[in-house]
């Protein structure tokens, strides 16, 4: 069986009267690549430090494979950490760094050599064993840190923004390598990042944190396409936020946005107005004056390589952002051009009604975010 199930129960850490982690409940399955995503200062590192044993929680419990480890010191937990700044020992060579944990565990000499060789091969550093950490590039140092933790075969591997110090290209390369590595070793990875793209490309599941609280947890597609809160919607990428009036209908309900009406499925929301979000890539632009669509003017064009982002303004001051792929099929448009905007009701996401209170109250009509 696979080890490495991590459960956090009501985890709380307060500094003074500020809660860095606030009643956090999480279950990470054994062998999962699990990301904790959130803005700076939301309590990601604190959570990881509690799991690693470097910070003791104010309240709450940490379980690994059903065992309560809350009070165990770091050296007695089957958890290893890849620190953000790598924390390699500067006075030891790469091999010695990797062997450090094995020595502490009093692993026999022969096995030690075998395991160090093995893990160095795994991270493609076989020929770098005798170098000092200072003689390595950032990416290589990163891999040493990884090897040093993995060689101990922890049940859970914690990674605190391990790629944040690297340039974009190196990052992408290591993202791929990390994912492969995870598949190979099968250990539970708990991966911290504030980069939503990184979290989405790498993870089996993502937990989104804000102010120490869990906002949503789920598969990347789930979190991206069905964000449950306003915060998640915005944090997971540019999204258009629309205020809609709820009208009754025979089946489902009708959302009225400006002059346009959309037949929505499901039971009607309780409140009279709701907030809907729609991804820019689901906003389709048509020629001027197509039937049934909203009509607006392009006020901004930004070319971002694979797509072009347009900002479309409508009467009554509302704007929407549209991402149109540069695939040669869609025509390129210019500022000032009049376009029709086509929205499908199934692309709308109803933002959890309890979140409405947090939304700015003064914009009566339609707001765009981005």
């Amino acid at each position: 069986m696979v080890n490495g199930e991590l459960v956090l129960e009501g985890l709380t850490k307060t500094y003074g009267d500020h809660a860095a982690v606030d009643r956090l409940d999480l279950r990470v399955e054994a062998g999962e690549f699990f990301s904790i995503l959130g803005p700076s200062g939301c309590g990601k590192s604190t959570t990881l430090k509690i799991v690693g044993g470097f910070v003791s929680p104010t309240s709450g419990r940490v379980f690994i494979d059903g065992n309560d480890v809350t009070c165990l010191p770091p050296n007695r937990r089957s958890v290893n950490t890849v620190f953000q700044n790598y924390a390699l020992f500067p006075f030891l060579t790469v091999r010695q760094n990797v062997a450090f944990g094995l020595r502490r565990a009093r692993v026999g000499k022969r096995e030690l050599i075998r395991r160090v060789d093995e893990v160095l091969e795994l991270v493609q550093l076989s020929t770098f064993g005798h170098r000092n950490p200072s003689e390595l590039s950032g990416g290589q140092q990163q891999r040493v840190a990884l090897a040093r933790a993995l060689v101990l075969r922890p049940d859970v591997l914690l990674l605190d923004e391990p790629l944040s110090a690297l340039d974009a290209k190196m990052r992408r390369q290591l993202q791929v390598e990390l994912k492969e590595l995870h598949r190979e070793v099968g250990t539970t990875f708990v991966y911290i990042t504030h980069d939503q793209e990184e979290a989405m490309t790498m993870s089996d599941r993502i937990a989104v944190l804000q102010n120490g609280r869990l906002e949503q947890v789920g598969a990347p597609s789930e979190v991206y396409e069905r964000p449950q809160t306003l915060f998640v919607t915005q944090f997971m990428g540019i999204s258009n936020m629309l205020h809609a009036t709820v009208l009754p209908a025979n089946a489902g309900w009708v959302a009225r946005i400006g002059d346009a009406e959309f037949a929505m499925a499901g039971s009607p929301p309780v409140s009279g107005t709701v907030q809907l979000s729609i991804r820019p890539e689901r906003v389709r632009l048509g020629g001027a004056g197509s039937a049934g669509a909203l009509s607006g003017v392009i006020v901004d064009v930004s070319y971002v390589g694979a797509a072009t982002h347009y900002r479309v303004a409508f009467e009554a001051g509302m704007t929407l952002q549209a991402a149109v792929p540069n695939d040669g099929v869609h025509s390129v448009r210019n500022i000032g051009e009049r376009v029709s905007v086509d929205l499908s009701p199934e692309d709308f996401r109803l933002i959890g009604e309890q979140q409405l209170a947090e939304a700015p109250a003064n914009d009566t009509d339609v707001v765009s975010v981005g």
């Binding site: 690693g52 044993g53 470097f54 010191p73 770091p74 050296n75 958890v79 290893n80 950490t81 620190f83 700044n85 924390a87 390699l88 020992f89 500067p90 006075f91 450090f100 944990g101 502490r104 565990a105 000092n132 950490p133 200072s134 040093r148 933790a149 101990l152």
Partner: protein
């Protein structure tokens, strides 16, 4: 990189350059002259009359053959050795403890640690002298004037510097590497010994050398806490005899020993620090300089 950019920096205006050079020469001249006359061929300490090593060794009046000189040399080295060892060990332990203090005690502790450094040496010396002479309570009663009091006095002064240097190093290192060691299975003691002590070594060496240089050079505290002629150090001997008419270039030789040992200690500290931290990143290079100039 830093040296490069300095070299490429603005050229000094000529008058300023001359002034800087003059200052350098002025700094070096008295010391070099004093040292040079230790090799004079005659008894004169002001007129050069040829080269000889007679004031260093070979005659009953030479530095290394005369009881008075060798006693002072020996005593100074003894004091320096003891002061160095004790203040380095104490300072390291103190620094380790002090950096772990959190909360209300932090500020007062920091302040008290600074007292010996900011107090004029003379006040400290007089204070120690009075305490050790007139207070009959332990531990003051057991420390007798002479070598024990001199070591106590010098350590009181130097330990503050050691603490400052080592604390600086601890602050720069952060607790990341210690945490990493714990994470990899080291217990608290193993992490301290295998990682923290190893990383502190350069700073400890610097602290030791600074203590040594201070002890060798020290006059005020050593003088106040001395007892009889057997506890005369090099600076004390120089002070009492340098202006007397009956002196020889052997005294210059004695002064030379003082200058050279001090310089060696400081140079060694700087070299050792660089050597021991050679594998660390640029960031700690900076702290090296900071620690040395502290």
């Amino acid at each position: 990189m830093t040296t490069d950019s300095k070299r490429k920096g603005i050229r000094l205006p000529r008058p300023l350059a001359i002034f800087v050079w003059a200052y350098m020469v002025w700094n070096l001249l008295p010391v070099v002259a004093a040292m040079a006359f230790s090799f004079n061929a005659t008894r004169s300490r002001s007129q050069w009359q040829g080269f000889s090593t007679q004031w260093w060794s070979g005659t009953p009046l030479s530095l290394f053959d005369n009881e008075e000189y060798t006693a002072a040399l020996k005593h100074s080295l003894e004091l320096a050795a003891m002061t160095t060892v004790i203040s380095t060990v104490l300072g390291t332990l103190l620094a380790l403890v002090v950096t772990r203090i959190r909360g209300v005690a932090k500020r007062p502790v920091n302040f008290i640690l600074m007292i010996p450094i900011v107090t004029p040496e003379l006040i400290l010396a007089v204070g120690l002298y009075l305490s050790l002479t007139f207070i009959t309570v332990w531990p003051f009663s057991v420390v007798e004037l002479g070598t024990p009091a001199q070591v106590v006095g010098q350590v009181t002064y130097t330990v503050g510097f050691v603490v400052v240097i080592i604390r600086g190093r601890i602050a720069v290192l952060g607790d990341g590497l210690e945490a990493a060691a714990r994470d990899l299975g080291a217990g608290p003691i193993a992490a301290l010994v295998l990682v923290l002590f190893r990383l502190l070594m350069p700073a400890v060496l610097v602290g030791a050398m600074i203590s040594f240089a201070f002890s060798i050079d020290n006059f005020v505290i050593t003088q106040y806490l001395s007892s009889d002629s057997s506890t005369v150090s090099i600076p004390m001997y120089l002070y009492t005899n340098a202006r007397g008419g009956n002196t020889t270039p052997a005294l210059n030789a004695l002064a030379t020993v003082l200058v050279v040992t001090t310089l060696l200690a400081v140079a060694l500290a700087s070299l050792l620090y660089r050597w021991a931290t050679r594998r660390e990143s640029v960031a700690s290079d900076v702290t090296g300089t900071v620690a040395l100039s502290a």
